[in-house]
Homo-oligomer: 249 residues x 4
């Protein structure tokens, strides 16, 4: 495939085209402290094409020409064999690639966001100090912002105020692509989750489309920050609250 043909994949005047949207989202995430030049990223799937930011790029300066395009049809090949439909001239593929692909192939996600948010990292560190098996899942309930999450892939609607949001935590590995099997195992164990925390590292959050992935990531980061502040103030993350008003479907 000639370069000019490949470059058509990332050339569009539409600000919502994945090759334009990934740079604008990453700039926004950089300002939120979610990603830096070497950490975090974002990938969007459009049918069988996957658009993905390169490794080590300055996130607030990314351009559409920096974007890789992968064919999802080729996702069963091993990592080293993976074929790119379009590659930027001077970058390396992101180590997050197989993890983004897991969200697309195992969950049918349309967008996956990976942040190194300090609030996510601190939550995993706080859980680690608890030990005794309590360190493997973050739980919070009775906070309105929980309603920003879907109930799960096989369920309709969003979580309710009294529901407990559960985000599994996997241990970090020296190489990011080695996280894939653990991420997939957590997806199996928590079939309804839209996010997986990685200890001392960050979080992967996905959604059916860019809108849902982003708003779920916003809600989750809000809850992680709130949870850290609650811990500083001695307030527990889960509680039994007397119910007021009807609990309608």
């Amino acid at each position: 495939m000639a370069t000019t043909e490949a470059d058509k994949l990332i050339t569009s005047d539409d600000p919502n085209h994945p090759a334009n949207l990934i740079p604008s989202l990453c700039a926004k995430f950089w300002h939120l402290g979610w990603v830096t030049g070497t950490g975090g990223g974002c990938s969007i799937r459009n049918d069988d094409k996957v658009y993905i930011a390169p490794s080590g790029v300055q996130k607030e300066l990314m351009k559409s020409t920096d974007i890789y395009v992968l064919s999802l049809a080729a996702q069963n090949s091993t990592f080293t064999d993976r074929t790119y439909l379009r590659s930027p001239p001077c970058y390396k593929p992101s180590q997050c690639t197989p993890l983004f692909l897991a969200a697309f192939t195992k969950r049918g996600a349309g967008c996956c966001i990976h942040t190194h948010s300090q609030w996510a990292v601190l939550v995993t560190l706080l859980l680690e100090t608890q030990g005794s098996g309590n360190e493997k899942v973050f739980e919070i309930n009775n906070i309105e912002q929980i309603k920003g999450f879907g109930r799960g892939m096989t369920k309709s609607g969003n979580l309710g105020y009294h529901d407990t949001l559960r985000i599994p935590v996997i241990e970090n590995t020296p190489h990011e692509e080695d996280l894939t099997e653990y991420l997939e195992a957590a997806m199996e164990e928590y079939p309804d989750t839209y996010a997986v925390l990685v200890r001392r590292h960050g979080v992967y959050v996905w959604g059916d489309n860019v809108h849902k992935a982003k708003t779920q990531c916003e809600s989750l980061d809000y809850l992680f920050q709130l949870a850290v502040e609650m811990k500083k103030l001695g307030i527990p993350w889960t509680s039994e609250i007397a119910r007021i008003g009807p609990d309608r479907p």
Copy 2:
């Protein structure tokens, strides 16, 4: 009413037209961390028309064409019967709608802002740990920023430095519209308040016009953040301070 007629309600070159102002305010509030894609919002009343942001919109990307317009004259009808003068093509009405309407009909407000500010939520959590009835109102005094609040609908001027600002707290309900009766009860009990906190959820703040609602919301968020920091440093929210200088009207 034809779509083109309805769309005239949200079409204006004036940046201060409610349909333009709500998006610019919501983008500002998103940057302040007050609202997210699924939480918080803003509504403006212009005579008997109410302009209101839809549910679940990305707050920093909202457009005038996303705005609902309601007739206040129809507000006595039940929620399911409510008629919209103008609806955006691909959104659902906000669950905050009846709460915004309460501010407009019970208080004659011109603008109502609903934030999920973490400082508001943390203040309600800190009050909750006190129990014994102290959890139902936030009180702070002897802080200059208190002067950013009006004394009340039936009184002239703003609170003074030595006055105690009191913001009632209502318990959260699984469905946001079910908060309405509790919000209205708090308005009855605190006839001079311009804000009501919702436990583990956020705050509703209103004012006679956009300017007053926004500046009161700024002052209140400032005080909530200060109160959380004061708690971390062991400083009480209320105190007896020796008066200096004349206490003129």
Copy 3:
């Protein structure tokens, strides 16, 4: 004086004209959390003319046409008699006016900034808990940022790393203009200070020109925030540090 003549005082294409600079500075300060719609402000002196923001304006939206212009020659008249060379059509004068004038007349300042920064307020609250006379001055030393301050009006150069920065604290009064006599007394007692803290309220910072007032205000806010964080971590604000290297003039 006809309105058109008066309006010439605030009409200029130069972004550094006081009537343009005050709005751009206030917008910047709003983003830093130093000022809100009802708190804080900024005034610039140009020879015998004083430019000043009005009361209660949304600080990030201010326009040159919102600015008051005062003649410094008239400053000896009482507050009620003060004559404005130019007044905006729909605002009230700021209650900060006599305090800004004190910086201009008693210190020959070219610019005075008043913030409600939470860090400033928290520092005054922390000092208050110490009592025993220690609450009347903020002291910090051995922090590099201290070098951002001038030694004083009658001295040349800036403070050194080992010098102790001292900012007096005055008690708040119900009416901001009543602070004037206490501010002036603090200026007398601390003839070299470029700032005065107001308990539970904020800080006034000035400088020979806009550049110096702003950079001193930046340094001071940095030190207030650092001081609060130091307190949370149990680190004292002043200490004896062994000197390294030559202590040249």
Copy 4:
């Protein structure tokens, strides 16, 4: 050399020319709280020319015409003898100059950033309270963001997740240029470090080029902030973590 010839050194339409890049980077760093009008800065080396911000400039307002240009060939001359190829008309050279030059001459760096980040200062203060020789190096491990750092000038690739990042701390001196000998000594003692902390002052971070210096500075500031939050929550900065997955080169 005529002024017009000298000014050619800082005149370019290329946003990546050092004279344009330093102002845009400094504005960005100002928004991050890394630099203020009197603290912090940035220098870029292009072959044997060094571009450097002046002393005391408002960092978010810097222009290319504010930039000094030095010849690296002249770096062996003493400080007072240093010759500038181009000087701005109304500024003084930065006291950071000899420290930036140390990064260029001792390490072959292409860019050096100096921040007064409060997180850097707080880390040095926390280390100071430990004493017993533990105060002379900041150590952290088992945090993903550590992978944002190169292993060292004589080594290829970046640090791994289980590696311990070590940043030496030097004591502050009354005059910034007097730090040079201590900075150079720390470079000798830690031949692989890309950064040196200065107690109660800030940090110097460099890299082979602007991209690497900036992303390393981002990662380091992230780790400093995380370290302060970990301390507040009672979580140690270093730990033994069971290894998961292969530890490949």
